[in-house]
C-alpha cells in the first residue's frame, strides 16, 4: 500500500456476521482495507461476496459486528446515530443504482439537498463548477420525472460531489442504464476524480465499468481475495476467471 498518500476511508479488521449458530453468515470476515484520497476504487465480486455489505458499512448505513470503519480522521464505529447522519451529510456522498432523487425536488434542489439539510448555503463557485461538469445547466429546474435515466444519475453524481465529501460511495451506479449512458456517467465520475481530486468507491459487477477505476478489489466469501491496479477490461476479466478457478 502506498504510504505517501493519505487514506480517505478504510476498515480495520472489519467483520459483519448475520445470524448465529448454524445459520451464521460471515458477510465480512476480518477485512482491512484503505481507500486513498483522490483514488477511484472499484469493488467486485460475486453475489454474496460481501461487496455491498462492505460498502454499506463504510458509508455508515450499516454497523459492523466487530472492527472499525474510518472516514477521514473519524472512527465512525463509535458515532451516535445523529453524528453518523451528520457525517453522511457532510463527509460522504452517495450514488445508488436507482431511486436516487427526491421526486418533489427539482434537479438543482436535489443537488444541493445535503447542503440544504445542513442549512449551509452552497459554495457558489463550487456548485457552478459541478453543474457545468454535469452538463445539465438547462434542465436544473426540472423534476426527476422529466429527466431521462442517464440525466437522473448525472444529477445524483452531482449531488454526491456538491458537498465535496471525503468519499463518494456508488452502488452499481450504471446498473440500470444502457451501455452508452452508463459510459457517460462513468466518464463523469472519472473526471471528478481527475479534476476535483474526489475519492470514489464503486461497487459493480461490470468489468467495463470497473475498468474506469484506478484500482479494483475482488471480494469472495467476505474477504479481499485479490487486487488490480490500473486495470483494463481484459485484466479484470482475467482476474475474475482466475478467482472462479482458484
Amino acid at each position: 500500500m502506498d504510504t505517501a498518500t493519505i487514506a480517505a476511508a478504510g476498515t480495520i479488521q472489519a467483520s459483519k456476521i448475520y445470524g448465529s449458530g448454524d445459520t451464521e453468515v460471515r458477510a465480512l470476515d476480518d477485512v482491512t482495507v484503505s481507500f486513498d484520497q483522490g483514488q477511484f476504487t472499484a469493488i467486485m465480486g460475486p453475489s454474496g461476496s460481501g461487496k455491498s455489505t462492505l460498502m454499506h458499512c463504510l458509508a455508515g448505513l450499516d454497523r459492523l459486528t466487530s472492527g472499525h470503519v474510518m472516514v477521514g480522521e473519524t472512527n465512525i464505529s463509535q458515532l451516535s446515530e445523529k453524528d453518523l447522519t451528520l457525517l453522511r451529510r457532510t463527509k460522504i456522498g452517495f450514488v445508488f443504482q436507482a431511486f436516487n432523487l427526491i421526486p418533489t425536488l427539482t434537479a438543482i434542489e436535489n443537488i444541493t439537498l445535503p447542503l440544504d439539510l445542513g442549512r449551509n448555503s452552497p459554495d457558489k463557485e463550487l456548485l457552478d463548477e459541478v453543474v457545468n461538469a454535469v452538463g445539465l445547466a438547462d434542465r436544473l429546474s426540472h423534476k426527476p420525472n422529466e429527466l431521462s435515466g442517464g440525466q437522473q444519475q448525472r444529477v445524483a453524481v452531482a449531488r454526491a460531489l456538491a458537498s465535496r465529501p471525503d468519499v463518494i460511495f456508488a452502488d452499481e451506479p450504471t446498473g440500470n442504464l444502457d451501455s452508452q449512458t452508463g459510459a457517460e456517467i462513468l466518464d463523469f465520475m472519472r473526471r471528478a476524480v481527475n479534476e476535483f481530486g474526489q475519492t470514489i468507491v464503486m461497487v459493480t459487477h461490470d468489468p467495463i465499468a470497473a475498468a474506469y477505476a484506478d484500482r479494483v478489489l475482488f471480494l469472495a466469501d467476505g474477504r479481499i481475495v485479490s487486487e488490480l491496479v490500473d486495470p483494463t477490461t481484459d485484466s479484470i476479466l482475467e482476474s475474475l476467471r482466475n478467482a472462479s478457478h482458484g
Binding site: 454499506h56 446515530e81 453522511r88 445508488f96 427526491i102 439537498l113 440544504d116 445542513g118
Partner: protein, 866 residues
Amino acid sequence: MLRLSLKNLAANKIRLALTGLAIVLGVGFVVSSFVLRDGLKESFAGLSEDIVGNVDISVASLLDSDPLTEADLEMILDTPGVRVAVGGVGGDGNEIQPIKDDGTTIATQGPPQVAFSWTDESQLNPNELVDGRAPGGPDEWIIDIGAADRHDFVVGRTYDFITPAGRASAELVGTFRFGADNTTNGATLMGFDLDSIRGYLQKGEVYDSISIGIDGSVPVSELESTLSSALGNPPDPDPDDDEFPDGTRAEVQNRADLQADVTGQFNQALDIFGGVLLAFALIALFVSIFIIANTFSIVTGQRIRELGLLRAVGATPSQIRRSVLIESAFIGIIASLVGIAAGVGIAFGMRELLGAVGVDLPSFGVVLKPATIITALVVGIFVTMLSAILPAIKASRVAPITAITGSADLESNSIGRYVIGTILTALGVGGMMLALFGNADGVTQILSILGAGAVALFVGLTLLSSLVAAPIARIIGLPLGPLFKRPGTLATDNAARNPRRTATTAAALMIGLSLVSLAMVLGDSLKSEFTKVLENSVQADYLVTSDLAITPLEVVDRLEADPSFGAVTPLFYWGADFDNQRADAAAGNDDLYETDIVALDYTKADELFNFAVTDGDLVDITDSTTAIRDTVAEDLGLGMGDVLNLKLEDGSIVPLEIVAIFEDTAISSSVMLSVGRFNDISDQVTADWVAAKRNLEVSAEDADAAFAAIGADYPNLSFDSSATFRENLASQIDGFLNVLTALLGLAIFIALIGIANTLALSVFERTREIGLLRAVGMTRRQTRRMIRWEAAIISAVGAVLGAVVGVILGIIMVQAIPDEFLSEFSIPWIRILVMVGIAAIAGLFAALFPAFRSSRMNVLDAISHN
C-alpha cells in the same frame, strides 16, 4: 379469493387497525348515543315509579280559572270506593329555591328543585321520614337526604328561600327518603306544609292535584268515570289521547296511566336528547366514511403490483372486486364489534364531556339493547363496504401488465369528477335551503332533507376540493421554507404532491370545522342582532332576569319603593288564542289564531322601551283594548278600531279593541295585553323579567349601589345594567356554541385520526424516499419534523376549507333567514383564525406516531424497499 382476503387482513394488521379505528369510533359514537339514551330511560323509569308511589287515582287540576277546591276534595272523600284522599300543591320545578350557607342557590341548569306539600298519609306519600319530624306548621320544611348531604342543609337550622311570592324563611325540621333508596337523579326534593307552599306559590285555597287511595269496593275504572263527571268534566270523546274537551276541569288517571304519563314525559325528553346526540354521532360516522374510503384507496394503490399479479395469473376483475369488498366486510364486522364495546365507554365519557360544558346528566347503568347491537353492526358493515366500493372498482381495473411495470394511474382526475362535484354541491346547498326555508312539514322531514343536502354538499365539495388542495397547501406551507429550510419545503411539497389524497384527508376535517364555523357565524350574527335590538328597543338602565323567567313581583315592589329608581315595570310573556278569521284563510278554516303575547305597565313604556309604535298609543291599552304588531294586522286583515277576539281558558271570548299598532322589536310579542287581561289567561304569578330606569336625581353610582343591594337578596336572579345584560346574553350564546363545538369535536377527532392514518400510509409508501433522505444526511429530527408539518398543512388545508365553506354557508343562511329574526351579519374572524390555528397544531400531534415511525426506519432497509 375468500382465503386471500383473510390472509391479506392477517398480514396487514396495522392497515387493519388504521382502517378499523375510524369505524370503531364512528360506530362507537352511534352506540353511545343509544346507550346513553336507554340507560337514562331506565334510570328515569325507576324514578317515575317512585314518583307515583302507591297512589291509586290522581286528579290533576287543568283549569286555572276553575281550580280544584276544598269542596272537590270533600266530594271525592264522600265518593263510595274512596278510602283516603289528600289534596296537594306543588311547583313544576325551581320556583322555590333555598339559599345555601354560601349565599348561593342551587344551579338551575342541572336536575330540578321540586317543592310539594307534605302529607302524613303514608299511602299517598312516596317519601319516608328519616330524621327529625314532618313539617307541621307554617314556615317549616323538610328535604330529601341526598340533597341535604349534597348541599349541606342541616336539620334544626332556618334557611332563606326565594319564592314566587318573594323572600321567605323556614326551619328545616327533618329529612326524608324518596322511594326505597332516594334515587332522585340529582333532583332536590322539598316538602312544606300545605299553607306555606300555597303562600310561596301565591295560590289561594286550591289544590293542584288530589291523590286518592281506594278501598276496593268499586272498580277503579268505574271510580275514575264517576269522579270525572262529579268534578264537572264534559264527556271526553277520545279518552286515550292527551287532548281534553274545552272546560275539562281536571284529569283523572289511575296508577298505570299516571306512571305511563310520567315515564312518557321523561322518555320524550330523552328521545330528543338521544336524537341530538345521534345526529352528532352520524356526522362523526359520515366523516369516518371519508377516512375509510381514503384508506382503502391508498392501500389499493400500494397493492397494485400484487393486484396485477393476481390478474396475470387469471383472477377476473369481479373476483378482485369481490376480494376487496369481502376484506372490507370483515373489517366492518370486527370494527363494529369493537365499536359496540367502545360505545359503552364513550357513553360514560360523553356524560363527563357534557358535564364539563355545563350539561349535567344523572348516573345510569349500561343498557345495551339487541336493537342497538344490530343497528351498530348494520351501520358499521354498511358504511365500511360503502367506503370500499370505489376502491374495489379501481382495484378491479388494474391491468395484468401492472405486475411487471408496477405502476398504474388509479388517480385519474377526470372532468367528470368536477362536474359531479359541482352538481352535488349545488344540489346540497339547494336542499339545505329548501329544508330550512321551504314548506317542509314536520321536524323529521326537515331534518331528512337537511341531512341529505348536507351529505350532497360535502361529497360535492370534497370532489371539488382536489382542485384547490395543492395551491392552498403551497400557500399555507410558505412560511415553512424560511422556518425549517429543506425539511419545511419538503413537507409542503409532500402535502401538495397528491391533491386528491390531501383533499380527501382534509375533507373530513373540513366537514367538522365548516359546521363549527357556520355555528360561529350564526352565533356571532345573533349576538350582534341581540345587541342591536336591545340597544335600540331598551332604554331601561337596569334589568332583572332569571334563568327560568321566574322573577318575583316583590322585586318590582322593592325597586318602586326605592327612591333611586324612576319607572319600573315587570314584563309577562305567554301565548294566547284569538278567534279571528285570517285575511287569506280558505273558506272553512276555523282554526284559532295562535300567537305570543306580552303584558306590562304601559304607563312606563315610553320611559323604558322603544316599541316602534306606528299608530295609536300604548297608554290606551286597558282590559278591553289591545295593541297588535303590523304582521298580525296583516295576517288578520285588522286595523285601528277593529276588534281582536281573545279566547279565555274556559272557552269564552273577550273582544278587545285595537288602539295601537307597532313594529317588531324583539322584546315586544305579537299582541300586547293589559296585565289584568294577562292574568285572565295565565296563572303566572311572576314576571319574566323586570326593567327599571334610574331616578335622574340620584347619581349613577348611588343607583348602581342601591340596585346591587336589592340584588344581593336574590342570589338566583341576575341584576344587571343594560350593558352587562347584553354582554351576558353574548356569553350565553358562546356557551351554547361551546356545547355544539364539543359535540362536533367527535367528528373533528375522527378527522384527525384520518390525518394520522393517511400520513402513516404515505410514510410507508415513501419508505425509499425517506431512506434516501436519511442516507444523504437528513437527521431523525428533521424527518419527524417533515412528516409532522405535512400533517399540519393537510390539517390546515381542511381547516381553511372548512372555515371558508362555513362562512359562505353562514352568509347564505343569514341572508335567507327573514330579517325579523336575523338582520345583522357578523363574522368572528379572530375566533375562526384561532380555530384554523388550533386545527393545524392538532395536525402536528396527529402525526406524532407516523413521524416517529418514519424516523426509526432502518436506512438500509428503506433504500432497498420495494
